[in-house]
Symmetry: C2
Subunit: 147 residues, 2 copies
Amino acid sequence: MYISARADYALRAMLAVADAAGTPGDAVTGGGELVKAASLAESQDIPLSFLQGILLDLRRAGLLHSHRGTEGGYALTRPPDEISVGDVLRAVGGAITSVRGIPADRAGYHGVATGLRDVWLAVDGAIALVVDRTTLADLLSDRATAP
Amino acid sequence: MYISARADYALRAMLAVADAAGTPGDAVTGGGELVKAASLAESQDIPLSFLQGILLDLRRAGLLHSHRGTEGGYALTRPPDEISVGDVLRAVGGAITSVRGIPADRAGYHGVATGLRDVWLAVDGAIALVVDRTTLADLLSDRATAP
DNA sequence: AGTATTCCTATTTAGTTGGTAGGAAGGGTG
DNA sequence: CACCCTTCCTACCAACTAAATAGGAATACT
């Protein structure tokens, strides 16, 4: 499995939003629930303008709610324990398993290679099992218990 | 998981070698156990010169045995039921799960994103479970039972 | 009105991937 | 030995994708 910079950044940004929103008294956010893109970029070392494109994807996928203006920023649309890693990956990356760029379930094999398609589908299922059962809340609590 | 053309071709070639070697009376191979690169390329629609580089990788990984000359060709070094899909993938691709090009187990996360590393390791383990328990023999017999 | 901020598009840059070409080295055959 | 055949190896090219940048709209608060 290849995790692109885009996917990696998206997850880190979502975690940072979840974390900031969960601590209302935080100094960086000024006590509000909305987190600015600039503060996300700084806390996780992500190029700001690149991050903005990613945040746009996440908003279009319905994972983030945004607000413009002076006191603008981003917030989760659902609680962290209802957003899985898989949700975020699919929002920025499309299909999780692909063969030469095309989705695994429509790979055209013939002759002796016919069985390969089933292998890729099994891999896809195994990955989905992991990323779909792990939520943002899980990742945040892991950090709390093992710093 | 992204399966590159290189990995895809490698698996198809290995299956074709296994299949040809398992049927000694085959017209294409002429009755010998060695299969020529040209015949592999044709049977699975793989560009010949590209395939040669892949076969070289497979040989260097110890999965294929080669012989030059007029009656040259390639053969498996082990029976098909002792070669897994994972063996072939690792021979041509390096690490199975990577974050931005670097192996998952040495991804440097900090702050709120610390837990991500464990997710990638879990994904890597889940993929390994699938590709390491599936052998070339499994794939060939699948084809025989469901043509 | 003015300012801060999100939003969106276009462009540049670097790296990887897929594929090709041409020969050198080794093996069989007359 | 001379000659074909096949694997081996290196260098190279073209296309594509990812990553990052820049600059300008649109929107909301003061």
